[in-house]
């Protein structure tokens, strides 16, 4: 068995109002060329001006990935010709990326693994192209959208690990609120470097790069297919050629794009239009303080401190909004397991059924915890609670209002319940006789009590009082 060695380069579009070097809108528009400035089009004489928010988000990501942030912000030009690159060069970071030497912890089948981050750098996206039979059309909307490229060390050893890292990385983007990270909109794209190492080898094998994969499942399939291809070549005594390949989803295979000899020399050099900008230490600290607890830290707390099962904990941390909701609930009511049960159970079921996000739902943490409190206090029973929750989600009314509206308030007063039981027994003297004769009528009588109170009598108290009353006849 040869060892699989994978390195990833992940491009992800950052959130901001305007683009990285121009003040055109950074937004995903279906109307071609609706958010374009002269700067994005690389018209003669334009100059780039750095967007502070894009830089802030890139620093936030760098810190969240435990990277070093440089003292100065600098940019290089990457020079190459392509129809989607209007300036003939891409402004990127080559010498001093916004983050270097970091790591991200991932969970691979319950085991922690540290994925080393070589660097993460800020750059601009290119135009998008639509291809038709004999022509292509250029839409410059995407030109200049801030892009963060994260490069791992070659320390990933399977397709599953690669996907776990990508999920983890996406989660960091979402938790830090720096990107929508939607692969269905091409906001997160991936280049994969794959090589194989013979069992006792000390050096990495020849590396093959697979370019521009748009989905996590694509990454997984591409790796599996490329590993199989390389194994086959080696098994047949062949050699792996250093090259760039592309992955075709329809055939599930990788194909040669260009060989090492055709590799482009990007002739990187410092962009003279962008003077170095001092990155204030205080600013970095301020940004750091804005980073929330990330998903893996929350996962650890939920499973280790709150004793929530891993499946539910995973469900909660998967979406930061859900996790935030959960933590707010726990702050209001210290019943982490109960809350988790309700949230991952009935609440999620409702959201999935109605295709809603937790934010869109008419439920807030106060409403949910108030309801759970009523259950704990025995004011409503579990079955009623389910009904209340459903109605809460439908109407946005709080639990108290709904319990009143639905007439669900439980009778928990012992004296009141005793009166009800005594009158039920008075009307059904035959049952007392049956009881005395040893017949199993206890539950039937409880049922009558419930029927009389339309279910409002607290079943536990009712049972206790009924037992006391019946024992008097023995």
């Amino acid at each position: 068995m040869r060892k699989v060695v994978i390195g990833l380069e992940v491009h992800c579009e950052l959130k901001s109002n305007s683009k990285i070097f121009s003040s055109a809108k950074n937004g995903f528009s279906d109307i071609p060329n609706s958010n374009v400035s002269v700067v994005d089009m690389g018209m003669p004489g334009i100059l780039p001006v750095v967007n502070k928010e894009a830089v802030r988000n890139s620093i936030k990501m760098a810190l969240a990935m435990n990277c070093m942030v440089p003292d100065y912000l600098t940019f290089e030009r990457k020079n190459y010709f392509y129809p989607d690159l209007p300036k003939g060069y891409q402004i990127t970071q080559f010498k001093h990326p916004i983050g270097t030497n970091g790591y991200v912890m991932i969970d691979v089948n319950g085991e922690d693994k540290k994925i080393l981050i070589h660097d993460t750098h800020l750059e601009e996206d290119t135009a998008s192209m639509d291809h038709y039979n004999d022509y292509s059309l250029l839409d410059y909307n995407r030109c200049g959208v801030p892009l963060l490229e994260t490069v791992t060390e070659p320390c990933i050893n399977s397709a599953d690990e690669a996907v776990a890292f990508l999920e983890g990385l996406r989660s960091i983007f979402l938790y830090t609120d720096t990107s929508y990270a939607r692969s269905d909109k091409g906001q997160i794209r991936c280049d994969v470097n794959v090589s194989l190492m013979e069992e006792n080898a000390t050096e990495l094998g020849t590396r093959v790069e697979i370019k521009n994969i748009n989905s996590f499942s694509g990454v997984k399939e591409a790796i599996i297919s490329e590993v199989a291809r390389q194994n086959e070549v080696l098994d047949n005594g062949g050699e792996i050629v250093q090259e760039t390949r592309r992955y075709d989803e329809s055939t599930n295979k990788t194909y040669t794009m260009r060989s090492k000899e055709d590799a482009i020399d990007y002739r990187y050099f410092t962009d003279p239009n962008l003077p170095p900008i001092k990155i204030d230490k205080e600013w970095v600290e301020e940004i750091k303080s804005e980073i929330p607890k990330l998903h893996n830290e929350r996962f650890r707390i939920y499973t280790k401190e709150y004793n929530i099962n891993t499946k539910d904990a995973y469900t909660i941390v998967k979406d930061k909004k859900v996790s935030d909701f959960y933590e707010e609930c726990v702050n209001l009511l210290n019943e982490p397991v109960l809350i988790s049960n309700w949230l991952t159970g009935d609440v999620m079921k409702y959201l999935n059924r109605e295709s809603l996000t937790i934010e869109e739902a008419k439920l807030n943490p106060i409403m949910l915890t108030d309801m759970i409190k009523m259950v704990i206090q025995g004011k409503i029973n579990g079955k009623q609670a389910k009904e209340v929750l459903e109605k809460m989600l439908d109407t946005g009314k709080d639990a108290n209002t709904l319990v009143n509206e639905l007439g669900m308030t439980q009778i928990s007063d012992e004296g009141e319940i005793r009166q009800i039981i005594l009158s039920v027994l008075a009307e059904n003297k035959n049952l007392i006789d049956d009881y005395k004769a040893g017949k199993k009528v206890f539950d039937y009588i409880v049922g009558l009590v419930m029927k009389t109170t339309r279910g409002k009598a607290n079943p536990i108290i009712s049972a206790k009082v009924l037992k006391e009353e019946l024992e008097k006849y023995l």
């Binding site: 305007s18 055109a24 609706s34 374009v36 002269v38 001006v49 750095v50 928010e53 020399d265």
Partner: protein, 95 residues
Amino acid sequence: MDKKTLKLLAKKLMFTMNEEEYDTLSEEFATILKQMDLIGKIDNIDKVEPLIYPFPLENTLMREDEVLDELPIDDILLNSGSSLYNQVKVPKVVE
């Protein structure tokens, strides 16, 4: 510098030149490389920090994140040699 190298350089810059033009270029290369060699012989030149900007530009401010300048579609397409459905049209790009 041989012609083959020069032609490859031209190809990477996406243009072609005629034969005599490559001859002139070859002479120019010889001149500039000779002059650059002299620069390389300046004492301790390799220890000098390259000067990219004329002088340090202090207090450069970044732009606030506001949407301000966007071009109307007519301006975007005004200078393009060919367009279709409000997009710039080129022969099919094959990756």
